[in-house]
Amino acid sequence: MQEPDRDQDPDDVLVRAFVGQGDKDALEILLLRHERQVYGLAYRVLGNKADAEDAMQEVFLNVFRRVRTFKHDSTFKTWLHRLTVNACYDLGRKKARTPIPVEEVATQSANRIRSLDTTIVIEDALNQLSLDHRVAVTMRHLLDMTYEEISAATGVPVGTVKSRIARGRAALGEILGPQAEEQRSEPGRLREQS
């Protein structure tokens, strides 16, 4: 049974408890603490539930397997983001070679029917970006990460992050066009719909 106050322990303390004593409760707290960000990032980058779930499981399996090699030279969260990005790239590459699962075709058809929902339009636009651009803009806008943090998580220089965010944003602006304009004039609308 885990002690209630352990939820407040910093990531590093929990990592050391798991590595040092094989403390599974510590690992569980880490998992609970970070699964949403890992899943959310993967979902937005990969664009569907099944792949996001795969990525999330891959990330935490890697945590389990490789946490002993974690050097503490970055935060655990940054390391986790890096694992997530790597998992997304791996799955993204596989996906590029694999036809879309039938269940997703059905979902996408349903999505078309709901195409008036602006959120879906934005999701579609995001999915049209390259993987590099999607990762960068998702980290920036949905995880509120700084350029430095994105650089650390993706392993590319800050200048590259800057460029990817700018290009991703510009591409989105072009794809969205009038929708983005509508969204600007009705800022409350999307939240209500989502």
């Binding site: 998992l31 949403r36 979902y43 399996l61 700018a166 969204q183 989502s194």
Partner: protein, 283 residues
């Protein structure tokens, strides 16, 4: 500022990544340069749109699956993870495990099925991939069909041939699919079922698990069975929705099909040949 800022600089300005005094200079520039102000507005619109998206959260089922994969298995998992051969074996199993058993028809003439039941989306607490055999052995309890207890063979992904038994002569009257509307769509059936190329004599079929199969398939079972005392062929497709935890079965489809109509078990043909179709998801 004499020069117009580039797209990257404007984008970084929006993100607050440009420190003073450069940020102040940019601010002044936007007030005097309509072109740069327009570009800034365009990039800001895209940012605003993106911020409308939420960060999806894993569902309770996904959390449970993750917990199971990471936390509940370490005791066994250390064994699992520490032995590449074992893990590799599971991976191979995830690609395809195939059993093909000859069917000896009980009678020469196969009557048209008079009863059919197509059921989709049932729940079934089934075993994991490493123990798919026990899951399949429990299917009679769930479907009510009589299965024989033939072994489930395994085979790696790829083309293979197998004898399916002599060609079944007899009526090929239409199945009474009273709930046909519940049958999977054409595209679903085609994707769920591996391709099958019937040989000229109708007795040997070449099967190939589609590399385009959306999910790693764990088992395809073809075995003799009866349904309402009629010969039937049982096909079981089981697969996982996860590419990383191949040992966990998520979906099982069970098809009981009229052997007389088995020449092409794919797509609409599979649907039309079905006496019974059940689709199970992990409970």
């Amino acid at each position: 500022m004499n020069e117009h800022p580039g797209q990257e600089q404007i984008s970084a300005f929006i993100d607050g990544e440009i420190a003073a005094p450069e940020s102040d200079q940019l601010k002044s520039h936007f007030e005097s340069c309509a072109g740069c102000a327009a570009m800034k507005s365009s990039l800001e619109r895209a940012s605003l749109a993106l911020r409308a998206l939420d960060l999806p959260e894993p569902t309770a089922d996904q959390h449970r699956a993750l917990r199971q994969a990471i936390l509940d298995r370490p005791a066994k998992g250390r064994f699992f993870l520490a032995r590449p051969a074992f893990a590799g074996g599971l991976a191979l199993l995830a690609l395809a495990a195939i059993a093909v058993v000859s069917l000896r028809p009980e009678q020469n003439k196969v009557a048209s099925p008079t009863t059919s039941r197509l059921v989709a989306g049932e729940s079934f607490d089934f075993a994991d991939g490493s123990d798919v055999r026990s899951t399949v052995s429990r299917l009679p309890e769930v479907t009510g069909a009589q299965f024989t207890t033939d072994d489930i063979g395994t085979k790696q992904e790829g083309a293979y041939s197998a004898a399916l038994g002599p060609s079944e002569a007899g009526s090929s009257g239409s199945s009474d699919l009273s709930h046909k509307e519940k049958a999977p769509s054409k595209s679903t059936a085609q994707n769920a079922a591996p391709s099958m190329d019937s040989q000229s004599n109708g007795t040997t079929c070449s099967r190939k698990i589609l590399k385009t199969q959306p999910y790693p398939m764990i088992a395809l079972v073809i075995r003799p069975a009866t349904y309402n005392n009629q010969p039937a062929r049982l096909l079981v497709y089981a697969w996982t929705a996860s590419q990383t935890t191949n040992a966990r079965l998520d979906h099982i489809q069970v098809w009981l099909v009229d052997p007389a109509k088995c020449a092409e078990l794919a797509g609409d043909n599979l649907v039309n040949a079905a006496y019974h179709y059940s689709s199970f998801k992990r409970t």
